[in-house]
């Protein structure tokens, strides 16, 4: 007998026969298992009594547990709340769309600024290129007359291999 305190979820294990009878009443047994239960029912008054009690208490639950009908106000309020949710979703979507568009604009502007920067740098480099070439060629230009006296590049390489050139000439080579 329950003394009014809630029954906990960790009660002792249920008698296997009761578990079997409940599953039988719920139609959750295989045909073989159901036949086994029916054999027990046919031969045991105790099993029949237990089955009847389980069945009656479940029927009492379905028959007597009150089920109040929902009010119209409940339905209306639920539908109204859903409409508000739909509106919020729409507003949110519009905001996201605006953010997406804003993002595209920002991305486009950054891309344009980046392209401009790269273009400027490339142009500046291109314009600086002749001067850089002249700077690199300066040692050769300085000794241009001496180089003209050499007959062949092969001869100059031999001189270089023997370490006869100064730093400036080596740079030029």
């Amino acid at each position: 007998m329950n003394d009014g305190n809630p029954i906990t979820e960790t009660d002792d294990p249920v008698d296997p026969l009761d578990e079997l009878l409940v599953a039988y009443l719920d139609g959750e047994l295989s045909p073989t298992e159901a036949e086994g239960v029916e054999r027990k029912l046919a031969t045991s008054e105790e099993v029949r009594r237990r089955l009847h009690q389980l069945e009656s208490s479940a029927e009492m639950l379905v028959s007597y547990l009150p089920r109040a009908a929902p009010t119209q106000a409940f339905t209306q309020l639920t539908v109204t709340l859903a409409a508000q949710v739909a509106e919020q979703e729409l507003t949110q979507e519009l905001k996201q769309e605006q953010l997406r568009r804003g993002g595209w604009w920002l991305g486009g502007a950054l891309l344009a600024a980046g392209s401009l920067g790269i273009g400027y740098y490339a142009t500046w480099n291109y314009l600086q290129a002749p001067n850089e070439q002249l700077k690199r060629d300066l040692p050769v230009i300085r000794h241009f007359d001496e180089y003209r006296t050499a007959d062949s590049v092969e001869f100059l390489r031999k001189l270089h291999a023997e370490g006869l050139f100064g730093e400036e000439i080596e740079d030029a080579l």
Partner: protein, 205 residues
């Protein structure tokens, strides 16, 4: 549900109309309070509405609905426990639709101006027995008896294995039998009070 998913506004109203009574019945007995049950049911419907784009046609809608209901009820219970832990005052007895043991005893003793009718008394006894069960036993029992769900569907709804559901349900049914049989056979209520025997009052067989 597919029409709701595709943005049909009236389909959602039809869905609410079709399932609200079933959902409220389960939630009311699960939380033991009509007002809380209505709030939870609304929350469940709104969750369904918000998640409509993720609904898969293969899933049985009732199973999906009661899975959300089970989660919502669990969250509500946890929130309630936390509120209790921080010392919030417990709801006054008249805030719950379910009668307390004292009220039921008073009603059956004849001290109330109008003694409850036999049918009403039986309903009180059943409600009292239900309230004595653990939350998961109650949920499994309600899904099984009110919704006619199979063990497989209950397992999906409550995120349990089938053997766990089998064990939970058999424990719930045995507890219910132990609580109700004395009343059915001898008119003895779950709180220990004797009352009109069932065979002299409501027909319980």
């Amino acid at each position: 549900m597919l029409q709701v998913r595709d943005g049909n506004a009236t389909a959602f109203e039809e869905l609410v109309l079709r399932y609200q009574a079933r959902l409220l019945a389960v939630l009311e007995h699960l939380v033991g309070n009509r007002e809380t049950a209505e709030d939870l049911a609304q929350e469940v419907f709104l969750r369904v509405f918000r998640a409509r784009h993720t609904y898969e046609p293969g899933a049985r809608f009732a199973t999906w609905l009661f899975t959300i209901a089970n989660n919502a009820a669990s969250n509500a219970r946890r929130s309630k426990s936390r509120r209790k832990e921080v010392g919030a005052p417990a709801p006054a007895p008249n805030e719950t639709s379910a009668l307390s043991l004292d009220q039921i005893a008073l009603a059956s003793s004849g001290a109330m101006p109008t003694r409850v009718a036999d049918k009403s008394e039986a309903a009180d006894v059943v409600r009292q027995a239900m309230e004595s069960l653990g939350e998961r036993q109650k949920m499994a029992l309600l899904l099984s008896r009110f919704e006619g769900m199979s063990y497989q569907d209950i397992a999906t709804t409550m995120q349990l294995s089938i053997p766990a559901v089998k064990s939970l349900l058999s424990r719930a049914r045995v507890n219910l039998r132990d609580l109700l049989t004395p009343y059915m056979e001898h008119g003895q209520r779950p709180d220990g009070n004797l009352t009109v025997p069932a065979d002299e009052g409501a027909d319980l067989s």
